[in-house]
Amino acid sequence: MARLLIVHHTSSPSMQAMLEAVMAGAGTDEIEGVEVVTRAALTASAVDVLGADGYLLGTPANIGYMSGALKHFFDGIYYPCLEATQRRHYGLYVHGNNDTGGAVRAVETITTGLRWHRTRPPVAVAGEVGPKDLQACWELGATVAAELVS
């Protein structure tokens, strides 16, 4: 059974809606053999990361950067996981009131160092989260889950 770890910092109704859509996609009945584990960024540890086969990351964009909670997560797992998690698949979703590019680039700088493989482009939403955005989140979750058993 493959394990998909969702690490998220959910600080708003918009982020909650995106998280639920990602979780629904990751846990869809259409994909078998994937166990989905969800952890808040402030509680996720290197043990969680090492024990998973792929990752979904969710963060708000705060002043052009990822949330402090997600950065704190990376601070704690970067070196313990640097060698063991190379080439693992991951996906990213970001929500911000305005520009989300800075947060996306900041995450991708670190995942590049970790040599994680981005399964598909991030779902980055600025402003109100609409049905198409939630559909994209669902597809993100499903795609990363499907990669783990392909």
Binding site: G64, K71, D75, R105, T109, I110
Partner: protein, 310 residues
Amino acid sequence: MILTVALNATVNVAYEAGEIAWGASNHISRMTCRAGGGSLAVARVLAGLGEDVLVAGFAGGGAGNLIEADLARAGVATAFTRIGRESRRVVEVLDEAREQSTRLSEPAPFITTEELGRFAGEFRKLVAGADAVVLSGGLAAGLPLDIYASLASYAAEASVPAIVHAGGPALWRSLDRHPALVLIASTAGMPGAGASVGPAALLARGSKAAAMLSGAALLAAVAPGPAGLPGPGGPWRAALEGYPGLSLSAEAVVAGLLPAVVQGWAWPDALRHAVALGASADLLGEVDLDAYDLLSSEVVLAPGDGPSPG
């Protein structure tokens, strides 16, 4: 005191051998171990010219100790924020027989949020006593791309001019914090990269003065009005003609332009000084003063902001 910031300080290890046989054991004839990186080279040039300079930034492990010791030997004071990981090493292997050099670059250390916070606090204390701050070189892993912008803002709060020498997003994001001077050595990674990105474009984005290296030429312009620095606005082009293949050390050019920012030199004089210094310094910031004396009289200054044809 000039404060230079090294966010990815490096130990440059150079091995020289008569001939390298890959896949075999080789004896090295000569080995050197020097502190390197953009801001460290700027600091070394300034110390060589007798300036009071202090290096801040990140350093860790045994490599960090080597960096501090090498800078101390060069008369450069340091106030690094210690990190939990090793500063990175760059190993260069010179095969003399084949006249080939191979470089092996370690990844940059990851900087944690706590380490960044400590550095920010220490930087704000140090910048208060500085005449200028130089932000030069690449970024360690885990640092936000707008770190130079943030540091330029802290400098502005302390009424200290900031000089930014970086590439791509790190420099572009600092422009609207109105640094006193920015220097670019290429247009790689800049929005709208190409012939249109020159000093004038950088001024339009907020820098008070801007310079661009192009081969053996330095193009520069200064914003007009109260926000600009003393002297005519330019643009100017300062170059060493008749030296095909010559390229200038960007870090030495930064050091050479500082007098215009800190001491009120006229920009034409600073440009001549910077070009001569740039042609006389090596990658680590060691200046051949005899070469500088010879070349400084050969720098040609002219109006214009076009790229050098050579």
